[in-house]
């Protein structure tokens, strides 16, 4: 039997031989009849356009999931009938386009989320798993870049007084972390201005600047700062910063094929992320307040100290901004100008530090011990 053709050309996907076939639409199927073989029935819902469909073009079709079979309908009644029965085949490429757009946008959002997790969530969770020697090697490098060649201030009587404050604060901590506390005469800039700051480095290494001791008006104030830094140590914020830096480096090296992203892993990079988030600062504040209350130390000390520094900051605000703008890159990654540049959100935090209710507190240091602490650099 010879099947009539309507000049439709069919490739069966098994050989490159062209066959002339007859095509018609029937009951939701595309029926392809050919001489000497059984008719093929393609469900119309599975028919996809390969290309064509525009005036002057033949309509080229395939069946979804079929890698080889192809059907070419010349412009004319058969092609029109197929389009009339299943108009959606003309818009298949639009569906494909929007699918690609959707997936790629989803990927970018997903990577954004993963990046957020790497920088904001995972570091705190992973901080406890860093081996001690890794922590220490970081602490060594960070310490060097913070202290530089500053003079260590360790007059024995002054150090004793400092230790006494530390013991008092620790007495209020339920499960205190191990830490060390040292004072250095850290100065900054060409005019060798005394730095007023305190650092909690990885591994529980606390460093106070001599400027901070100098600026403090009472032992309560020093105790307050100590309690706050102890909060960072206890909550492993410095260790989390290490993980954050390496997470960033890893993400970067993933997208640069492992090359050229090691710059962040440098000490400068870690210094930059050692500026804790507001959340971390609030956590350390909350820890400090709790510890101070248990240790019977007036949290007002921390408050007055912050207030004092805030005034100073307001006073020099514009000049500081200008100098920051002029600062070189090197300067920008060494942001330790004063306590506030590393401890953001001060206004609200001061407001939150309420004086301790009721009762007088036993003094932390005697007048003589306080004088000794003030003279720790002599």
């Amino acid at each position: 039997m010879i099947t009539p053709t309507n000049n439709a050309e069919f490739f069966d996907g098994a050989s490159a031989m062209a066959r002339l076939v007859h095509v018609r639409v029937q009951d939701g199927f595309l029926v392809i009849s050919q001489t000497g073989a059984a008719a093929l029935n393609w469900p119309l819902k599975d028919v996809e356009m390969v290309f064509g469909g525009k005036p002057g073009q033949a309509l080229r079709l395939k069946r979804r999931g079929d890698h080889g079979s192809r059907l070419t309908l010349p412009e004319g009644s058969a092609a029109d009938a197929v389009i009339a029965a299943a108009p959606s085949i003309l818009s298949g490429h639009k569906r494909r386009f929007w699918k690609g757009v959707g997936i790629s946008i989803a990927v970018v959002l997903g990577i954004g989320l993963a990046g957020y997790a790497t920088l904001a969530v995972a570091p705190q969770a992973l901080a406890r798993f860093i081996p001690d020697d890794v922590v220490n090697s970081f602490a060594d490098g960070l310490e060097k870049s913070v202290i530089k060649s500053s003079k260590r201030c360790d007059a024995p009587a002054g150090q004793d007084a400092l230790n006494k404050i530390a013991r008092r604060i620790v007495s209020g901590a339920g499960n205190p972390p191990t830490f060390s506390l040292r004072v250095f005469d850290i100065r900054q800039g060409s005019n060798k201005k005394k730095l007023v700051n305190a650092f909690a480095l990885p591994g529980g290494r606390m460093v106070f600047s001599a400027g901070l001791i100098e600026k403090a008006g009472s032992a309560d104030e020093v105790a307050g700062v100590l309690a706050h830094e102890l909060g960072h140590v206890a909550l492993r914020h410095p260790e989390a910063a290490i993980v954050r830096v390496y997470g960033m480096q890893m993400l970067l090296s993933l997208f640069t094929a492992g090359q050229g992203a090691d710059s962040i892993g440098s000490i400068a990079g870690i210094l930059a992320v050692l500026q804790y988030s507001r959340t971390a600062e609030s956590e350390a504040d909350a820890y400090a307040v709790e510890v101070m209350e248990k240790a019977q130390v007036d949290p007002k000390g921390l408050r007055t100290f912050f207030a004092k520094l805030l005034q100073k900051k307001m006073g020099t605000g514009t000049a500081k901004k200008k100098s920051e703008e002029n600062a070189s890159l090197q300067k920008r990654i060494e942001p330790f100008t004063d306590l506030f540049s590393t401890h953001p959100g001060t206004d609200e935090r001061i407001a939150r530090l309420k004086p301790r209710a009721g009762g007088t507190q036993p003094a932390i240091l005697s007048a003589a011990e306080w004088r000794a602490l003030k003279a720790i650099c002599n």
């Binding site: 490739f11 069966d12 996907g13 098994a14 050989s15 490159a16 031989m17 062209a18 390969v50 290309f51 080229r60 890698h67 080889g68 079979s69 192809r70 070419t72 494909r96 386009f97 690609g100 757009v101 997936i103 790629s104 946008i105 990927v107 970018v108 990577i111 020697d133 890794v134 090697s137 490098g141 290490i242 390496y246 480096q249 890893m250 090296s253 993933l254 094929a257 492992g258 090359q259 090691d262 892993g265 440098s266 000490i267």
Partner: protein, 387 residues
Amino acid sequence: MPPTLFGNQSAGFPAAGAEPVRIEYVAHQGLGGIAITNFLLNLITLSFYRFWAKTRVRRHIWSSVQINGEPVEYTGTGKELFFGFIVIMAVVFLPVALIGTGLAAYFGPESGAVIAFQLFIGLALVTLYGFAIYRARRYRLSRTVWRGIRGALPGSALSYSGKYFGSLLLSPMTLGWSTPAMNLILAQHITNDMRFGNTPFSFSGRSGPLYLRYALCWFGTIVAYFLIAAVGIALYYSGAFDGLQKVFASLADDSATSGNSKAGEGLAVIAGLLLAYLSYVALRSTIWSFYTARELNIFAQYTRFSGATFEFNATAWSLITLWLGNMALIIFTLGIAQPFVEQRIMRYFVERLSVHGAIDFASIQQSQAQLDRRGEGLIDALDLDAF
């Protein structure tokens, strides 16, 4: 091929049902829209749309190639390219990033361990170049369909990779003289592995005919180098350089507050060297176009498919204008016209290729080579994607 008494055998006695082959590029509308939407989508997705962008361009360009009136079809998808990328990231680059980060954390960021590791990875990635090229070619062939039959490259990517790495090593060791022989070995390897359906391509020939042209280009490059050096020195002593210096000094005067002839001199030296370098690169590219044209033509001659032979009509000047046009397109459209660059390349190859003899297409059966579910991750990651 030397003429024989019976002429070209396959062409002389075509099999029953064999047809002559006519290949042409029939441009159709739509590439401009693809170029613009691809550019915008790449922008807002931080280039993650590139897998789908590439696919759209290929679908368009492939379908513009018609063999005996039947368009070629690209059946790859953006998703396959994307998964190829993800797998390479997970299998190669994530472990590298993890180990590198771990080493930097443990031994310090500037330690010997980190540097050694980076050197090792750099070298290891170079050994993967050939692998990446072969796998990408395999993916593209398997996604190229004509008359319902797809291409295939079922050979071993690893053995190709070994030869490719060898060619990279030999080239500097022989001052480049291994290039024609090694290019021939690589072309032979990959062409002999290529299939359309179940029918193989074949490639055979010697690299000898390439060497005269190679030698001319090689010595031409050396002459060009000394020529530019000589012209530069002559200009320097003839005082033309002083003029350049004055121009830059006056420019420096305009921009800076105090006139500074030292700055002018420094800039003039840099500009002079840059000019010399650019003219050297331009001259070298021009010279080597003569070799590239020869190689393309000879390699086409060495290639056979079923009953057909190939002839390619590349010329140095056409390659140079192709390249200059592409550069201009990229530069003046800030890369938006990249799809048109690809179209120009495809068009160049299609329009200059002619197929002699006849092929019995009815005897070509579908490829039984397995279809990879993903593709091209490595070549994308290594940034080797030329086309």
